[in-house]
């Protein structure tokens, strides 16, 4: 059987469907149904001449799958390539290719999730949010109009330029190179990038505090500084920010109760 051709239209369909990867997220299958939905046009193209094999292909992708939503684009590219290769085989070699595909998909999802979670959720997201907040503070300071719009636009740009690039490059290289694309990814200096972004977030948080507290009056500035210092200690000891807000509320109640 000849391999189907991945046309730009097919790639766009898969990409569009990958945006719905978590549309039916559930604790049992996690992203399984969304991943199967994204791959379905390609599975139909690969297995069109063998309805039983098509049903089996759908079934294996409806099972549990979980990774970072951006990593799923690379995983989808790799899996599409492997599905096409398996469909071109027959007999025992096809069975072996499918078994390898299933096991690689599971391990790929888990290993990519760790890397992508750390970079996109744990480093780029805080850095992008802080860049947005700092942009708004700068806009207020400079007297520019629409400070909230500056904040939103900056945060969206800082996050989405790398995120969209990672999605598109991941899918394209996964389709073209298969597992070699994953090997190439592991050679990127991602850990230094993560450390750099986190340090930038720390610097941004301190700068944002200084800019925010700097415009307050004496008493309010002292309260803000004490809250920031207490927050640093409590957060270091693992107390969640929302719990700290609760403590602040209790402190406010105590202070109000002591007033004559």
């Amino acid at each position: 059987m000849s391999q189907p051709v991945m046309t730009p239209g097919m790639k766009a369909r898969i990409a569009g469907r990958l945006l719905l990867l978590q549309a039916r997220w559930d604790p049992a299958r996690m992203q399984g149904s969304g991943f199967a939905f994204a791959l379905d046009p390609w599975l139909e193209a690969c297995w069109s001449s063998d309805p039983a094999a098509l049903t089996a292909a759908r079934k294996r992708h409806l099972e549990y799958f979980n990774t970072h939503p951006i990593a799923a684009w690379l995983a989808a590219g790799v899996v599409c390539r492997q599905e096409a290769a398996a469909a071109a085989l027959t007999g025992a070699s096809r069975e072996a290719a499918i078994a390898r595909l299933v096991s690689q998909k599971a391990s790929l999802g888990a290993s990519l999730a760790g890397l992508y979670d750390s970079f996109f959720w744990g480093a780029l997201r805080p850095a992008s949010a802080l860049s947005g907040i700092l942009a708004a503070q700068a806009a207020y300071r400079l007297g520019l109009p629409h400070a909230p719009a500056w904040a939103a636009a900056t945060a969206l740009l800082v996050y989405n330029v790398p995120a969209v690039a990672a999605r598109v490059v991941g899918l394209t290289r996964g389709l073209a190179e298969g597992e070699r694309a994953v090997v190439a990814l592991t050679r990127l200096p991602v850990q230094p990038w993560i450390r750099g972004l986190r340090r930038a977030a720390v610097g941004g948080a301190v700068a944002s505090f200084a800019a925010g507290a700097g415009v307050l009056g004496g008493g309010d500035r002292l309260t803000a500084s004490l809250t920031f210092a207490a927050g640093l200690i409590l957060a270091w000891r693992g107390v969640s920010p929302l719990a700290q807000v609760g403590f602040a509320g209790l402190g406010g109640m105590a202070a109000a109760g002591m007033r004559p």
């Binding site: 098509l54 979980n66 949010a129 909230p148 939103a152 505090f209 920010p241």
Partner: protein
Amino acid sequence: MSAVAACAVLAVLELDAVLVAQAMVSRPLVVGAALGALTGQAQAGMLFGAAFELLSLCDLPVGGCLTWSAPVAAGTAIALASRGTSFSLCFLGGVAAGVLHSRAEAFERARRAATGDALVRRAEAGGPALGRALGASIALHAAMTFAVAAAVVAAVGAVDRAWWAGAPAVLRGGAAMAASSAPWIGLSGLAAWGLKRS
């Protein structure tokens, strides 16, 4: 724009948090800017957007993590502000909506898991079954977000009108302190989190 319409816009934007795209348009900062502009409460939008953004940045949305929904908290607080609700009550209403939303979402996810096997049986045959299931899931989630935000706006609005001005000073003082300290707590939490991990 009315508070009800703001809740509807919030329900659409919030879909980005988990179900659709994850392009960060559901982040409180963006929700704050959008709803603030639409409701004529730009200042409140920025304030609540930044506060809830900072408070939620250390919660990584990995696996089935469901602590509270910061986008819903920010959107609900701004919808409340558009009705003239007092600042501290807007903040508390936002937190309540965020926590309620995550509980409702946990229920929604459990329901999806319970009906997953039936969906797999239908989807194996191909056709539109899977696409329809995904569409229904998105519509149901948006409706749930709208219902939670609108219910909290109605309830907190009623409390504000009927009782809050005459509430004990202790309660009002606590609420005011919680709301005004939130941005500083968020910033310090983020600084500590980054220092620990870099």
